[in-house]
């Protein structure tokens, strides 16, 4: 494994993209989208921004598969925590009243 030096131009591009994402998410927040779309838009932009930081600022794009595996398992375990807990809250009111 050899280390990877990323050119500053890459950093600058990512930085500008992050600023753009911040602007977009603020603008989108004041628009009244139908249904849960506001939350979806906000979270999508946040996920894109986080992905850019992880891939370029944190050099994951150039890193070994092991690092990808670690990130993947972190997200997987977070998903377990969310999914199984929410399965309780989501179905708690399903039972008809006695």
């Amino acid at each position: 494994m050899s280390e990877h030096i990323v050119h500053p131009r890459v950093y600058l591009t990512i930085f500008l993209a992050l600023m753009l994402g911040t602007g977009l998410t603020v603008l989108a927040a004041f628009r009244d989208f139908p249904g849960p779309l506001n939350a979806i838009v906000a979270l999508t932009i946040a996920v894109v921004k986080a992905t850019l930081v992880i891939l370029y600022f944190m050099h994951v794009r150039y890193s070994s598969r092991l690092i990808w595996l670690i990130i993947g398992s972190a997200l997987f375990w977070l998903a377990i925590l969310f999914a199984l807990t929410i399965s309780d809250y989501w179905t708690r009111t399903w039972l008809p009243p006695l």
Binding site: L66, S73, A74, W77, I80, L81, T85, D88, W90, R92
Partner: protein, 555 residues
Amino acid sequence: MEEFETPKPPHTNYINAEYGLKSWLLTRDHKRIALLYLGAISFYFFIGSLYAMAIRLELLTPQADLVQSSTYNKMFTQHGIIMVFFFLIPAIPATLGNFLVPMMIGAKDLAFPRINLLSWYIYMVGGLITIYALLAGGVDTGWTFYVPYSTTFSNSYVIATGVGIFISGFSSILTGLNFIVTIHTMRAPGMTWFRLPLFIWAHYATSLIMILGTPVVAVTILLVALERLAHIGIFDPAAGGDPILFQHLFWFYSHPAVYIMVLPAMGVVSELIANFSRKNIFGYKFIAFSSLAIAVFGFLVWGHHLFVSGQSVYAGMIFSFLSFAVAIPSAIKVFNWTATLYKGSISYDTPMLYALGFIGLFTIGGMTGLFLASLATDVHLSDTYFIVAHFHYIMVGGTLLAYLGGLHYWWPKISGRMYPEGWGRFSALVVFVGFNLTFSPQFVLGYMGMPRRYHTYPADMVSWQVLHVLSTAGASILGVGLLIPLCYLVWSMRYGPIAAANPWNLPGLEWQTASPPPTENFLTTPVVTTEAYQFAAPEHKEVVGKFERQKPAGT
């Protein structure tokens, strides 16, 4: 165990490399840190055992004649907290794991020696804060800290205990982090993943749980402490909070924590079974991957602690199904160990006695777990002595027995001395008998309806008292059985026969270096060319007197 090699003159090893208290308290040697942990863990185990004895004494009679209910509440809480957080969780990983993980993979030390030492100090600070809380007045919430009792109503030292546990959690995280990085980056040349001893696989899986689960319980306990300070918080129904959310977050860690306790024990047992049967382990890859499977599945089952808490029944069904599923990888291990024994050249030395005990007791503990995983049965058995018996079969019958077995097995490597084999076998049997006498009556008690965490029971229930008396009698036998090794192990450190580098004649990497090992474990970095547990074929055995001795593999 007889020796064939003449004792070598004393060599420079990790114990005599440096002298003085400072050289121990500032050491970065993983072997010395393991001994620091060994001392501290034994201390906490002793404290926890005192509470256990007091509990058993109180239950000898139906009346409250030793303590009042408030004191009893503190006794079982403190027994649980000390035993779970300060003995069972660090017991095998922080002592045997710390000592052996680098040696078994052919490394000079763990990847982060300073962090390793730091984790011991964190553990000690957390432990001392907890001890302070116990001395200041104790805590009575049960080791589970259920809200809203712990946040709103309890008048005991919840915050101090919580802070102690919060802090000690970081020692667990750092140990797990160290193991994962070490196993990934520091393996000796030729030590591929499938040549790793199963002890290493088990510790890798344990470390996964430590780093993924511990932070969740840390933040949960932090929230409980803050909620007590602020008189409101996210678990408080007055603000619209949900106490059951606490149980979700708590058990997200604390159920997998059971696997933090038992996975390393399984690793020890895999070593013992293969080596004392002198046979390559049956189904190496199955055992290795079942460790990882337990680490993953262990995180999917926590809801079975919430069956009677008001959790949705639909979620309960999912959790029930998944809880049955987690039995599969555990069963795979048990079957493979049993198959390894088949036609093995079994020697009944002390470590093997503990390992065989482990298989039987763990199986009982695991099978009774299935009763509790099924929704309807659990309603009857929840919060009874059936549960108490079930998890003590896993934690004492499983973890403690494997810990003792491992300690005896590696004692010559750790101390450079042999323990007295006769006493060892005797105490192993005493522990086994005492343990079963203590906890098997509790299954019956629980089935008959005796609830846990009560210090009295109806005086006209003669059968209950008979079972409680049996249990208390067993506890005294168990206590004696645990004191014997304490005495002779301490004795053997000074007076035991000098141990050879490889007293059991085994192929494992840790036996290929001196006993005790030098500071950097190996004089030259070993090169690994074979899988683990490669024993020579029978024709390579040489006979010395009435003893068979095996040449190391490859000669």
